[in-house]
Amino acid sequence: MELRVEEIKQKAAEAARNEVLHQTLSTAGDRFVALREAGFSQLNDPEGLRIRGRKVKERSLADLPRLLRLLEKKVTDAGGVVHWAKDAAEARSIILDLADRYGVKTVVKGKSMMTEEIGLNRAFSRKGIEVWETDLGEFIVQLADEIPSHIIAPAIHKNKEEVARLFCEKLGVPYTVNPEELTMVARRTLREKFLGADMGITGGNMLVAETGTLVLFENEGNIRMSTSLPRVHVALIGIEKVVESWDDFGVLLTLLSRSAAGQKMPTYLSLITGPRKPGERDGPEAFHLVLLDNGRSRILGDEVFRESLFCLRCGACLNVCPVYKRIGGHSYGWVYSGPIGILLNSELLPPGSARDLPYASTLCGACVEVCPVMIDHPKLILEFRRRLVEDPVWKGRRVLSRIVPIKIYAWISVRPVLFRFAGSMARTFQALLAPSGEWKWLPKAVARWGAERRVPWFKRPFSSRWKKLKTSGK
């Protein structure tokens, strides 16, 4: 599916009219919020823990070059290979080269926002490599040719009837709306793929530099499968996910599992240090870690936006956001959604392609209250808005779309001959350009401007109609 962040207004308008979606997201949001609250209420000092979590991220990012070098050394010592990718294209090329080198025909993937970010599935498909999303939600979304709409519940926008029709059509299984039976269909289909796959690809929740360990959270077991059964494991992870020590891990572990689903611990927590060792009968023979920048170092250099790199991807800010609950994840147009999506999409996409996103927020601040590392989303969103209006391109557009037309109008309106001539031109061409008050044809450059404006019907001036009106007695 093509990701088109420019269409946010249209998608949001469509989603806002979808009452089923609104109901589903509200129910799910309330459930996640209750779970999170229950999880945090068991802690002695939740606020203290959030402060410690924030400190861990601040300290880790401030020391990133040293930690990355330490991590590289430790991963290499453990028999793994570290790759450095400055952008999405480089990451895709590294992973495709690896697939080529190992003669990979089938890939199984654990849930990873990073692989969505670099568009890895399409790259594999173009190479003729079979790729399977294995998290149930991601599997559903892949079959439907969509993108995830929630960080931890990717198919939250689909009801069971839609999933049943999808499985029926794509997997050729009998129609059933029983979630348990549908889940078992996925289990059987994917179990076969796990056992036959050559490469497992995962993201990562953390990297612990002191031992070169990749940390993976999950409840389903698909990540364990992807890291245990194929002969090659490739982990793609953003550079901002590295922490120094197991003590740092301990702080973030509690925050992340309780923020995501109110759990003390996820069902499975995998700590992966290199490939399998001699004598082991399962686990990958090769472990490759791809460290991705893709704009992160640029964000790191921005003293205000750096804070958005603290994000642990728990999804708590989505569940409390009134805008997310109304418009759903797809309206954000790219990989990330909700308040953190506004920040990450705006920061990571090419400048200018997500200009509407900072306005998809009420700035109510509910996200700050629940963020495990206290990211101040509204402050950052406001800063985005401020920079947008100061941005030369934005300013240029404003000059062209508002100031120049008004100046032209002012100039014409004080010249009666010219004014009458312009009026007659407008009346003549109006039927052609905007027959019913809506623009029929506009150059692409001003089409967005015109989409939100109705054209008044130009009439002949009253003075020229007076004589006719007088004689007709009206």
Binding site: N222, R224, M225, G301
Partner: protein, 276 residues
């Protein structure tokens, strides 16, 4: 300056940085790194971004004390772990006598129609005589060192048997180390996972985990290739938030906590055919 760079196209910002680097070398100032590879380029870009950041850097002092002090005494009851494990809809049994063990395993085999089980090659399982007990019930037991295709076999088994290196009482979390003979698939592929845990291997809470992991990292062989922490069974709520068990891994976990001294007092004498 920072604001302008943020909205510049990437290539342009990079050009400016490269120009600055070139200028600084012309001026005879020493570059922090010689830019030669992707890795070095990425690291130097990060270093450049961090220039002027005042935040605290450098290692925090690490607590290197051994994890031994974290283990809770054998005489503390299993109650908390039992409560946690049962709250996750899994099963916990404390076993004091061999008869209890036999009865629990009989029920398990019957309830889940176990005909084939795979197990770790761990001394505790051999001391407990698991092969003999299950063998008497007609269950076929297989171990990795004698198998050609261990993964395929594990996928066919109805039961996977492991021990656990540690159990966190606060959350009912099992901590499993991967080593030769102690594979990952045993606790993953069969629909039921059975884990045995000694009373001496219990941690009070999750706060003890960092020190336990670091103590393993400090051993000469370093951390195992995988450490797996298991809290409950495989589950999902991806379809309309309905909780479903066993989406990929086991749908049920049995944890058997041994009473203090159980495996010493009741050590099974392996028969020749069961010896590994």
């Amino acid at each position: 300056m920072v604001q302008e760079a943020f909205f510049q196209p990437l290539e342009k910002a990079e050009d400016i940085r490269q120009m600055k680097r070139a200028m600084s070398s012309i001026n005879g100032r020493r570059e922090s790194r010689v830019v030669s590879t992707h890795r070095d380029q990425m690291l130097s870009r990060i270093e450049h971004s961090l220039e002027g950041i005042e935040e605290e850097r450098g290692s925090k002092p690490v607590d290197e004390t051994a994890s031994a002090s974290e283990w809770i005494p054998d005489d503390i009851p299993w109650g908390e772990a039992k409560k946690e494990i049962e709250a996750l809809s899994d099963r916990f049994y404390e076993v004091k006598h061999p008869e209890d063990m036999r009865r629990i395993l009989e029920d398990l085999v019957r309830e889940h129609a176990v005909a084939l089980a795979v197990r770790w090659e761990h001394p505790l399982l051999e001391r407990l005589g698991i092969d003999r007990i299950l063998g008497d019930m007609g269950v076929e037991i297989r171990v990795p060192s004698r198998e050609e295709d261990w993964k395929a076999l594990s996928a066919k088994a109805q039961l996977g048997i492991t021990t656990a290196e540690a159990l966190v009482m606060e959350s009912g979390t099992l901590v499993l180390r991967t080593e030769a003979g102690l594979g990952r698939s045993t606790s993953l592929l069969p629909p039921v996972h059975l884990a045995f845990i000694q009373p001496s291997r219990r941690l009070k809470d999750l706060a003890a985990l960092p020190r336990l992991i670091r103590s393993w990292a400090n051993e000469p062989q370093g951390l195992p290739s995988a450490v797996t922490l298991i809290t409950g069974h495989s589950c999902t709520a991806d379809i309309e938030l309905t909780l479903v068990s066993g989406v990929h891994g086991p749908g049920l976990v049995y944890v058997i906590g041994l009473s203090p001294g159980y495996d010493v007092d009741n050590e099974a004498v392996p028969t020749a055919e069961h010896q590994v």
